[in-house]
Amino acid sequence: MTVITNTIRRLRFDAGEMTQKDLAEAVGVTRQTLMAIENGKYFPSLALAFLIAHHFGKPLEEVFQFTPKDKP
């Protein structure tokens, strides 16, 4: 099992309280999709993940964090 978390909420806050709608429009998805990504309900494609990271001017690993969890 793997867990992917993200810091999009904090990055939006740091970017002057950018709204979900603004970020969604900038990266070409719906606000609902961005909300699902933020809440960890949807894992974006690699291209979209890079696009989001690029939008904030950050490397991918600063936006998305991958934590492998070993099976017990």
């Binding site: 070409g28 998805v29 719906t30 606000r31 609902q32 999709t33 699902a36 809440n39 309900k41 949807y42 974006p44 494609s45 979209l48």
Partner: protein, 149 residues
């Protein structure tokens, strides 16, 4: 609620109405013997063609009314029909559900015909299987929109 999610809701509601109408009309005609005889299948097909046109009209009207109602109630004027990667992924899941339901249903309908079932009832079953497959697809889509994907 995204445009695609609203579409899933509308499709479920309008499917229930449209297919309810089809079941009522076709069931009534079938049991009244309207499709008996050599030209029975052609009469059935003509009825279904009309019902398909009516269903399309119901779907269009429901989509327009639902989206207007949604915009008025929520103040969300964004009626963009843009489908992103999540929408496409969810649509694929829906299509898979429809394939499973239709595949199983078609086999069952063929078994029914193979064991002496009436041709018109077989056609009705095929139509019902398509309706169920479509409904399953929309329900699965709505589930993924609501519970995450």
């Amino acid at each position: 609620m995204s445009f695609e999610e609203r579409n899933a809701v509308v499709a479920i509601l309008s499917s229930i109405i449209a297919w309810g109408l089809m079941i009522a009309v076709l069931g009534q005609n079938t049991y009244a013997g309207g499709y008996d005889g050599a030209a029975g299948a052609q009469a059935w097909a003509r009825t279904v063609l009309w019902l398909i046109l009516i269903s399309i009209a119901i779907m269009i009207a429901a989509t327009i009314l639902f989206n207007i109602g949604y915009a008025l109630l929520t103040g969300d004027r964004n009626l963009s029909a843009h489908a992103d990667e999540r929408d496409k992924g969810i649509a694929l899941r829906g299509m898979r559900a429809a394939q499973v339901v239709m595949g199983a249903g078609i086999v069952l309908a063929i078994v029914y015909l193979a064991f002496g079932g009436a041709l018109v009832m077989f056609l009705n079953l095929l139509l019902a299987v398509c309706a169920l497959g479509n409904l399953a697809s929309e329900v699965v889509k709505l589930y993924h929109y609501r519970r995450g994907f």
